[in-house]
């Protein structure tokens, strides 16, 4: 492109002030234009969907034997219609006595990998970094800083129900 097109004629002092004002005005309008689009976009992206916890039935009371720890799964509260299998969450559920249940999150408190219950060893073990938890969820060995997270669990009308909770994040 030819440089002479870029040349501006000599400026008069009164023009200076006007141009100064106009350039400020243009920048301000540009910022407002960007802002009114950016604010709703950023707010939408930062906003997390809050859903209330709900009780989910994981089985009938008679399905669970006293003393045994089993893997159960339940659907997240209000899953998005396209979530498919990702709407499921797993938990380890043990029937302690006739009407007492205990439910653990499967997420290792170290970095969230799913722990497995070793029936005969009476331990939970994490396949990622070898974190081990005792049957009561306390740390037995390895890197986990905290005991396994527990879900509230209740028996209602002969059904065992777990209260859904957000993914426990170890701070």
């Amino acid at each position: 492109m030819s440089t002479d097109l870029m040349q501006v004629p000599e400026v008069k002092p009164c023009e200076q002030t006007r141009r100064h004002f106009l350039s400020r005005l243009t920048i301000a309008f540009g910022a407002i234009t960007g802002g009114i689009v950016a604010i709703p976009c950023v707010a939408f992206l930062l906003g997390l969907r809050k859903v209330p916890s709900v009780w989910r039935t994981v089985g009938k009371l008679e399905d669970f034997q006293i003393g045994s720890t089993v893997n159960v799964s339940f659907v997240d509260p209000s899953p998005l219609p396209w979530a498919g299998v990702t709407a499921l969450t797993a938990a380890w559920l043990r029937r302690e006595s006739a009407d007492l249940f205990i439910a653990f999150s499967v997420d290792c408190t170290h970095l969230g990998c799913p722990v497995r219950w070793l029936q005969k060893a009476n331990l939970f073990m994490c396949p990622c970094h070898g974190g081990v938890f005792y049957a009561n969820g306390t740390v037995a060995a390895g890197p986990p800083p905290r005991p396994l997270t527990k879900y509230p669990v209740r028996v209602q009308n002969g059904e065992v129900q777990i209260l859904t909770s957000p993914l426990p994040i170890t701070g």
């Binding site: 997240d76 219609p81 979530a83 498919g84 993914l167 701070g171």
Partner: protein
Amino acid sequence: MRILKFVWSWFDDITGVSGWLIPLAKHPVPHARKSAWFYVLGSATLVVFVVQIVTGIALASAYVPSAGQAYHTLVFIDSTRFGHIVRGIHDFGASAMVILIGVHAIRVYLFGAYKYPRQMGWLTGVALLFLTLGMAFTGQLLRWDQTGVWTVVIAAEQAGRTPFIGNWLGHFILVGDTAGGATLSRFFALHVFFIPAFIFFFVGFHLYLVIRNGISEPPKAGRPVEPRTYRKWYAELLHRDGVPFWPDAAWRDGVFALLVIATIVLLAIVIGPTTLGKPPNPSIIEASPRPDWYFLWYYAVLTLIPRWSENYVIILGPLLLVIILVLLPLVAYKGERSPLKRPWAFAIVAFIVFMIAYFGRVGHVAPWSPRMGAPPLPASVVGVTSGPIADGAKIFHDKGCEFCHKISGYGGIRGPDLTYAGDRMTKEQMETRIYSGGANMPSYNGNITDQQLADLLMFLSSRRRKPITATSRNFPTN
């Protein structure tokens, strides 16, 4: 022909394309001579990026970024012959891009090409390096199988270590309370729109700077960069000894790019893309998530550092890396460029390459991971099929000992190998260990019956080189 010429001159008159394109293509570059092949890495990275765009668009034409359906669309893509190849090219292309941008950065560092006036070239390159790693990470997630889902959970847990905002940040990564419908869509937008937009911007800026400041000349020992006189000296060098970029330098870029792309396509056809794992169902707990190779070394480092330092390293480690890379051209912007005069530059590069290779290897083996699928010890190892030793071997498997301790090639390597445990320990020492546990070993106190313990000790004591009593040695620390 005359019509074509007419159309071209009309087009050129109203656009002026030839006025800037031809000088741009023919701009002089230093005559690199023996070092000329070192200058092909950046352009090859760009060519692979273009391949990623092309194959990415092809994949996006069939991929459905829906948490419930993405996996099925990938299964479909893999089931078609060319879809399988295209996904393979995109997969190997990702690896190639990470390798090439890394080697390019190493070349620029060793040649001291980040010094005046090319500091901003280095800084935009650092931005591109991290954006490329961001693409590698998000791309691995879009392979929305079981590992994909658990990778998001692990990323959220890592982000959760950030002070104050950790919990919010973790759930921000998940896009909600748990990994679910919203999670994949966000990562898809990141991988396909956000990060590429930044890459386009920084590639444009990076190339503009290459043209503005000129390609760095091969360094020579004893010829330091002096900012006050460098530009004048460089202009004279080009004037005296420059060659036109097109075609004198460009042909090497072409040859190397063809080699790289041909290799990627060949690997995609012969080996194919990373196999899809199990479906992304968080309730299938038989999962052992591992990062792709680019982050295996980091995974290993995070595992091997002392536990108290974990929170610091997860957050401060990457931050420190950014700070060092940003400060480099701002602090060391003048002086010697030649690596012969900067021997520590070789040492640093060797150290980084060794770290990535070594810890990548360690991360691949993952000795800290229990081998949870280890089968019970066969009779050929145990030596007997009934009696207390055979029962003890069964307990060794059932109680999870075998997942961490290897015996005769079976089992994990988290704890010490117990193939010859009987040679090293007395029964009393073993019993103490089993009861008290250790940092990485659970205590079995109250978790094992007297009979089981007696059988287990019989079995472990029978693990000897020779069946005669050997002197016991110190118990190894865990």
